[in-house]
């Protein structure tokens, strides 16, 4: 576009003012993109898990209501179910940790059949299966904490009144979308400790993860599970892993609507800031606009020039903001944020794109009023004005 050099020079002429506009857009879009990315990230995790053909079964009353261990075998017996394992969050503290990392009680005989995307060398799997107090850890957390095969890990219970004394028997690896910072141990060992303390949670589990057979339909199997337990003492609810993951986001007090409203408010404020700066710049240029029109620039050309300028400024701000979110989340470990359960995080491309789109939107909206004014300026009046 042949007007681009002129546009760029006009942006550069009000350096300080436009820099401030860009920075305010940058900082705000940094935050908005981060929030959006959090939502998108959860959704993306959910989508990826759809490929793994898994169902998550909980008590109809939700995660906090526990189910008897016996349901696992009953679920496994249903047609269309390939494998099923219990999965219970332990939430213990390791050494001086302030927050628990992800630790799950599960069934080592079924685990690798359900979590098929993770890899564990067969001899390590065998060693884990044979050691009741054995555990398996993700390669990333193993590296962070310096754990090697045979190391002892003691986890201090926070939810349950017992401590686990575990030995590392295996180190798993997983795909990029997987969580490389979990620890898995025998449910039977955990249950033994609970029984010894006559704990109410003894013999009970939080969730069952189900692998659905290739030929079966996910929804059919889920319905079969729901129906099988509907009239029992413990009515269950089966949902896809995707729905399960997303229910976490919704659990945090309808974050989605909150984030969207916040973003809307921020964007509105940005439009005001940018529009004000743009209007100021153009007021100083009334004569120049009049001259352009006298030379033969059409209204639509002037309109386009002003909108283009506003969009360039906003887009520059957007690139600053979105770019730094992307860089930050690529190179900084999310666990420093101290959000429990947030062990990995990246900005999905569609959130980055949304951020840039918002920037362009801000530019357009902020440019409209000054652009229309400039386009409608009377040449005669504009030339008379002595600036």
């Amino acid at each position: 576009m042949k007007f681009l050099p002129y546009l760029l020079k006009n942006v550069a002429r009000h350096k300080l003012r436009n820099l401030f506009t860009m920075l305010s857009i940058g900082v705000s879009l940094f935050l908005v993109t981060l929030l959006y990315a959090y939502l998108d990230f959860q959704e993306e995790l959910g989508k990826q898990s759809a490929d793994y053909r898994r169902l998550v079964v909980t008590h109809v009353e939700g995660l906090t209501a526990l189910m008897p261990l016996a349901v696992v075998d009953r679920i496994r017996a249903l047609p269309g179910v390939k494998a099923a394992m219990p999965l219970s969050w332990f939430g213990g503290l390791y050494q001086d940790d302030k927050l628990p990392f992800a630790q799950f009680a599960t069934d080592p005989m079924q685990c690798m059949d359900v979590w098929t995307e993770y890899r564990l060398p067969p001899e390590q799997l065998l060693a884990w299966q044979q050691d009741r107090t054995g555990c398996v850890v993700g390669n990333v957390i193993a590296e962070k904490r310096g754990w090697k095969l045979g190391d002892r890990i003691v986890l201090k219970g926070t939810i349950y009144d017992c401590n686990l004394e575990l030995t590392v028997r295996g180190i798993y690896t997983g795909p990029d979308s997987g969580d490389p910072e979990m620890l898995w141990f025998h449910y039977s060992y955990f249950d033994e400790l609970l029984k010894a303390r006559r704990a109410r949670a003894a013999g009970r589990i939080g969730t069952v993860f189900v692998k659905v057979a290739d030929e079966a339909n996910l929804a059919d199997v889920a319905r079969r599970i729901d129906e099988r337990f509907a009239s029992s003492d413990t009515p269950l609810r089966a949902m896809t892993e995707q729905a399960f993951v997303q229910s976490f986001t919704e659990m945090v007090g309808n974050v989605q609507a909150f984030i969207q409203n916040t973003a809307l408010a921020v964007v509105f404020a940005l439009v005001c800031v940018a529009a004000n700066a743009m209007a100021m710049s153009l007021r100083e240029r009334v004569r120049e606009v009049a001259v352009l029109k006298a030379i033969g620039f059409q209204r639509r050309t002037i309109l386009g020039l002003v909108l283009g300028e506003a969009m360039l400024i906003a887009l520059a701000g957007g690139i600053i903001g979105v770019g730094s979110v992307k860089l930050l989340t690529t190179f900084v470990d999310p666990s420093v944020a101290g959000i429990p359960g947030l062990t990995r995080f990246y900005v999905p491309w569609n959130s980055a794109f949304t951020g840039l789109l918002l920037a362009v939107g801000v530019g357009l909206a902020s440019g409209v009023i000054p652009a229309v004014r400039a386009a409608n300026l009377s040449v005669v009046d504009g030339l008379r004005r002595v600036v």
Binding site: K2, A12, L292, I295, G296
Partner: protein
């Protein structure tokens, strides 16, 4: 007088123009008719507020007359819509302002290129036209300078290059020497005379400076909304005897001060 071709470039027929400020009617031009033949160099003089700028704006289609018709280069301006007028202006007119009105962020080259951005010319063709225009005004070596790096006279010459780069038939100049010292004013006037004589441009120049006006073929005197052919000798005589009221009423004419 000069021998002139028949078809007038500017033709005003019973043109009147009035402005309204609040309820107050301000008559500026009253039933004015005027022919400016092709190739003529006309100076328009008259006291401040007599409607000289208004006349140029009307000829440029920047403003519309209250009554009457204006035909410029064979086109009745009253028949054109706002956007058609804008387009027509970019093709047929060159405008020169008292305050040069160059874009401060653009170089001399880019300023002169501006009107060409509205055409379909290629980048290379645009550059060729710009260089020609700058050569005519004698500033080809200042192509990449910004307005603030140029003197007033040079700025005005860049503005003239911008006005002629599209090769218009008519040049309208509103006090082109009004902000210049005597030497720079002479340079600009020489240039206008050259554009008229060598390139056949029809020029209408508003000025307060009788010495500038003398460079024209014809001087029109605008007073109380009407034209009179002015006798430059009479103006000069009036001036030297100290009886010229015009100068006191025209604060924006430093070159007239220097000339006097």
């Amino acid at each position: 007088m000069h021998s002139l071709p028949a078809q007038p470039v500017v033709q005003l027929r019973h043109v009147s123009k009035e402005y309204y400020r609040d309820k107050l009617r301000i008559p500026v031009l009253a039933d004015t008719s005027l022919d400016i033949p092709a190739g003529e160099f006309v100076a328009v003089m008259g006291p401040s507020g007599s409607g000289k700028s208004t006349l140029l704006n009307l000829c440029a289609g920047l403003d519309r007359p209250t009554t009457g018709t204006i035909v410029v280069a064979g086109q009745d301006l009253g028949e054109l819509s706002e956007s058609q007028l804008t387009r027509w202006r970019s093709e047929h007119l060159g405008f020169i302002f008292q305050l040069y009105n160059l874009m401060p962020v653009l170089t001399a080259f880019e300023n002169v290129e501006l009107p060409l951005l509205l055409t379909n010319l290629s980048r290379r063709e645009r550059a060729r036209h710009v260089e020609t225009a700058l050569r005519i005004v004698g500033l080809e070596d200042r192509m990449h300078h910004y307005p603030r790096q140029l003197s007033g006279g040079q700025e005005q010459r860049v503005a003239i290059a911008r006005a002629i780069v599209t090769d218009p038939v008519l040049l309208l100049a509103d006090e082109p020497t009004g902000n210049l010292d005597a030497v720079a004013a002479v340079e600009v006037l020489d240039l206008l005379a050259q554009l008229n004589a060598e390139f056949g441009k029809t020029i209408v120049m508003v000025t307060h400076d009788p010495r500038a006006a003398r460079r024209a073929h014809r001087i029109l005197h605008l007073e109380k909304g009407r034209f009179e052919e002015a006798d430059i000798e009479a103006i000069e005589r009036g001036r030297s005897s100290g009886g010229d009221g015009e100068r006191r009423r025209s604060p924006r004419a430093p070159s007239a001060e220097i000339a006097g």
